[in-house]
């Protein structure tokens, strides 16, 4: 075996040995949750997560090493910008060792994640040929580059995550069940999106932008705001000022 194959096998066996937690999903999503926890430990990082794109703009967090890292990833979804999205678009790793650097390309995102204690973020695309499936994000609470060894390991974790997803998709029937797993509890976001489209008479893109804007301005997650919209506790008004229903 080559060095990289040895490394791949070693990290795979670490993931396999990672204890299953009560909240873990079955199937490949559960495996990715364990991968995130393993990677967070191995890379001495505050959080690791895996996102999958349903199309070039829409990312879904599939797995996260913990609730805190899921909330951080949620900000990227809320804002529609950030390192994972950029690494998918650019087809390469996006390494941001200091989020306070004035040259950071997503100032709003950088500010928001720094409020969650994140100081550095590294994103690695999950891609095969022309297909771009998603990204692996690594979050650290200290400024600084990944060491060459950590960089290698992060790339290997991304490779393991990609292969796990592809192996889980051998038949179209399986891709439907993996898709349902990946979507998880996010389905309400899309229901809310459909409702806002009709309420405001706007397209899908603008509807999600309104929901994101509302979530961000109220410092809540997109999932929370969406749940309120679906339950009709919240109606977005056409002048962009959200108002609560009585």
């Amino acid at each position: 075996m080559t060095d990289s194959e040895v490394e791949y096998a070693r990290l795979c066996s670490l993931v396999a040995g990672e204890p299953v937690e009560s909240g873990d999903s079955p199937g490949v999503v559960g495996w990715l949750q364990r991968l995130c926890r393993t990677a967070a430990r191995v890379l001495a990082s505050a959080g690791v997560n895996v996102v999958v794109m349903s199309d070039s703009r829409n990312e879904l967090t599939v797995a996260a090493s913990g609730d805190a890292s899921r909330r951080v990833e949620d900000l990227q979804f809320s804002l529609g910008e950030g390192p994972c999205l950029e690494s998918v678009a650019a087809r390469r790793p996006v390494l941001t060792p200091d989020l306070a650097d004035p040259g950071v390309r997503w100032p709003v995102y950088a500010l928001a994640v720094r409020e969650h204690g994140v100081r550095a973020v590294f994103a690695f695309p999950l891609q095969v040929g022309m297909a771009r499936l998603g990204a692996l994000g690594v979050y650290r609470d200290a400024v600084g580059d990944l060491s060459p060894q950590d960089l290698r390991q992060a790339l290997t974790f991304a490779e393991i995550a990609l292969r796990a997803l592809l192996d889980a998709l051998e038949s179209p029937a399986q891709s439907a069940s993996v898709a349902a797993d990946v979507l998880g509890s996010r389905f309400e976001v899309y229901q809310a999106q459909g409702m806002v489209m009709i309420q405001l008479g706007v397209g899908a893109g603008e509807a999600i932008a309104r929901i994101r804007g509302c979530a961000f301005s109220q410092n809540r997650s997109v999932a929370d705001v969406s749940r309120d919209i679906v339950a009709r506790r919240l109606v977005l008004s056409s002048d962009e000022r959200p108002r609560g229903a009585p």
Partner: protein
């Protein structure tokens, strides 16, 4: 072998380069046969790959005359390529005039076409053999042991390229399947939300309406959801309040 070390290095770099650039399978295989022919100084080179039933099929040839193509193709049944493929080891410097008993159908035809020697190298990675590279010479005993190693190395690089290409294609297809399935789910949820808003009903009731409409019209759920989300006004049957 007549080729200089420098030229040899160039050939390997060229083959490896093709693997990272935009990959065209047939172009790549064509290039491998042409370069093998250069490097070995033989008249003709063919590359055969096993299909899903394990039968060898000619994929590319440095010389595409009809007699040549026939010589490659007959090896789906017997011949040096078939042997290299089955055994996973090279067949080097086979003298075609002595080969009637080994390959009664192949050898006389090859001699008739003007060839004296034939060589075949398996395309293999570890235990997997995916095909073979076939060389025809006008003289006997052309390849030294060192030459044979170089040709096998070229075959190995080509094999890695082919297997990578297969893995990538498979990955692309699977990734597209997942994204297709995810998109369908997303669009159906959006349609449910939009319908719930229009009718002031629950999400579940909205889904019932959507499914009922599709069933009544004999349409597919995903297609209706997509067209509806794109233009709700285009579906009076769904949007008219009752």
């Amino acid at each position: 072998m007549t080729v200089s070390t420098e030229r040899l290095a160039e050939v390997f770099v060229e083959v490896a380069d093709t693997l990272v650039d935009e990959f065209d399978l047939i172009e790549f295989l064509q290039m491998v046969t042409a370069r093998t022919s250069d490097v070995a100084g033989v008249e003709a080179v063919g590359l055969l790959l096993a299909d899903h039933q394990g039968r060898l099929q000619l994929m590319a040839a440095s010389d595409e005359r009809a007699t040549m193509l026939e010589l490659f193709q007959v090896q789906a049944l017997e011949g040096p390529c078939q042997d290299a493929f089955r055994r996973g080891t090279p067949v080097v410097n086979a003298d075609l005039r002595e080969a009637d008993s080994s390959w009664p159908r192949f050898a006389p035809r090859a001699v008739e076409a003007g060839y004296r020697s034939v060589h075949a190298f398996p395309l293999r990675l570890r235990h997997e053999v995916i095909g073979a590279l076939n060389l025809f010479g006008a003289e006997t005993g052309l390849l030294s042991t060192a030459d044979a190693h170089v040709i096998q190395a070229l075959a190995d690089v080509a094999t890695i390229g082919l297997l990578q290409e297969r893995a990538i294609r498979r990955g692309e297809v699977l990734a597209e399947q997942l994204q297709g399935a995810l998109n369908s789910r997303v669009i159906i949820e959006q349609a449910k939300g939009a319908l719930a808003q229009i009718h002031g009903c629950t999400i579940d009731e909205a889904f019932d309406r959507l499914r009922g409409h599709c069933r009544a019209q004999g349409l597919r759920l995903t297609e209706v959801a997509e067209a509806f989300v794109d233009d709700p006004a285009g579906f009076p049957g769904l949007t008219t309040r009752d």
